[in-house]
């Protein structure tokens, strides 16, 4: 690579919606707007300086609502990792001069379903139209009784457990570990500490996943404002520099993954991000891995290369990702305990930004570098970002 985005762009504003959880009075559009207004306040920018907009909804809707006429757009929509990928695209656009100040905004009425126009990915059997669904999942998966991510995302996990010796206890320990983080996060929906028995006693949703191994379903949003690194110190908050970026796709139909025990897209996107950042795994102080279900941090730790094949379950169960552990992970409690509107990637980024700024609710001491890994659809897509609070090494 002759050129890279490393240190060229910084996040200067970042915020979530004023409230998270069950918000029946907020439409999808309003959740975008609320988060955006909060991000604008976070950096104190004049909204008219925003000249680039990325969203998974039609960017024109948000632009016109805000009274902004952008000169750069991105509408990448590959599930919950889309916002990580949009940050990557925004950084590239800023580095190329296509725009100067970009907004990446997200809002989703995943719980209350106010103004949601598209069915959730993989939700075809539960939606009205399975008999007219000509997609590959519609023809080759929905017919077998799939109904959204809980019946699809973990399709390979029993295979993974057999091949690696990973246990049900280790899978459940993901939920236990993350609750140790959210226990001190006031905005988290689930904060009570839990044990392995609590996980096993929770309702079976889709074997081998109990309720506590499945993400929450909530309403909320978030927004991020990026600009050139040279301008980053003009804003009140400590800049968060983009060190590395990556993206990839694998398959729109989870039963056709190349290897059901590993995410090819995780490997490709994270490798790009590590290479661009010029860091090794030991340089990562803080890690977010999109956890729609408990197996995702396990796949992620291995596919990103933090641990070897089959080691992630024990690594988590032994406390390495818990408070006080050597690799703090999903420190807001994750999709399992913090919030999950359906497209969680924005919230993973927000927590990584808070940790790098030093303003997280359950702050890890001395975070300089955070790695944030997103997944979209059911192992359909991936995005990776590396953040740092230092302008250069």
């Amino acid at each position: 690579m002759t050129d890279s985005l490393r240190y060229k762009v910084a996040i200067v504003g970042a915020a979530e919606t004023t409230e998270l959880g069950v918000l029946p009075n907020m439409s999808t559009t309003q959740l975008h707007v609320d988060a955006t207004v909060n991000a604008i306040k976070d950096c104190g920018i004049d909204k008219n300086q925003i000249d680039g907009i990325a969203t998974t909804m039609n960017p024109a809707i948000l632009a016109h609502y805000l009274g902004i006429v952008p000169r750069w757009l991105d509408n990448t929509s590959v599930g919950g990792t889309s916002f990580l990928i949009q940050v990557r695209h925004a950084a590239a656009a800023i580095a190329m001069g296509l725009c100067d100040t970009a907004l990446v905004a997200m809002g989703q009425s995943g719980r209350s379903r106010v103004g949601e126009v598209t069915a959730r990915i993989g939700d075809t059997a539960a939606a009205e139209g399975p008999r007219t669904d000509i997609s590959y999942p519609g023809q080759f998966e929905s017919i077998y009784g799939t109904a959204g991510p809980s019946t699809l995302f973990g399709m390979g996990v029993l295979r993974y457990m057999q091949e690696t010796g990973t246990t049900h206890e280790q899978l459940a320990s993901v939920a236990v570990a993350q609750r140790k983080w959210s226990n001190q996060v006031p905005r988290a929906m689930m904060r009570d500490l839990i044990t392995l028995d609590d996980v096993f006693d929770s309702r079976m949703v889709c074997y081998p996943f109990h309720l506590f191994e499945c993400c929450l379903v909530t309403d909320g949003g978030g927004a991020i404002i990026l600009t050139r690194a040279e301008r980053a110190n003009d804003f009140p908050k400590k800049p968060v520099y983009i060190l590395g970026t990556g993206e990839s796709t694998e398959t729109p139909i989870v039963s056709q993954m190349y290897d059901m025990t590993s995410s090819t897209a995780f490997k490709v996107s994270s490798r790009q991000a590590f290479q661009e950042a010029g860091i090794s795994h030991g340089d990562v102080d803080h890690l977010m891995i999109y956890d729609a279900f408990a197996h995702l941090p396990i796949y992620g730790l291995e596919d990103l290369g933090f641990v070897g094949r089959g080691e992630a379950g024990a690594f988590i169960q032994e406390g390495n990702t818990s408070p006080g552990g050597k690799l703090p992970m999903n420190t807001n409690g994750g999709g399992l305990s913090y919030t999950h509107t359906g497209m969680y990637g924005m919230f993973a980024m927000q927590e990584a930004i808070r940790q790098v700024r030093g303003e997280a609710a359950h702050q890890v001491p001395g975070v300089k570098v955070s790695f944030c890994q997103g997944v979209g659809g059911m192992f359909m897509a991936a995005g990776s970002l590396v953040f740092s609070n230092e302008p250069s090494h």
Partner: protein, 142 residues
Amino acid sequence: MSQERYRKPVPVPTPETQFFWDKCKEHELWIQRCHVCQHVFFYPRFHCPQCLSDDVPWFKASGKAILWSYMINHRPVPGFEEDTPYAIAVVQLEEGPRMMSNIVGVDNTPENLVLDMPLEVTFEDATEEIAIPKFKPASSDW
């Protein structure tokens, strides 16, 4: 075939998949093998995903498979209420490709569903035009 209306989702074939579903209606499982690079693949496509050749003839699969992985859904889904809890499985065909399916002819419990168990295809008639390939425990190890 049940006289009651089939209430589970029914596939809507597209030009790429029509031949597959036509053969299913005859209770035969057909997949494709690239004539150029010999790659065997599923789901149906007009091009080989390995070499992009459009010379991708169909052949009849043996119908033998092993249980690759699965989940057991405990929440009722329209059309599947009476089956709940039921397994949504991925099987690996003898020829190599994997496909999603249901496992019939055995109670869908973790004790009964052992990975790598031998299976064979069977078909569930859904409509006059559509039969769904499903898998049942093999009558003998293959």
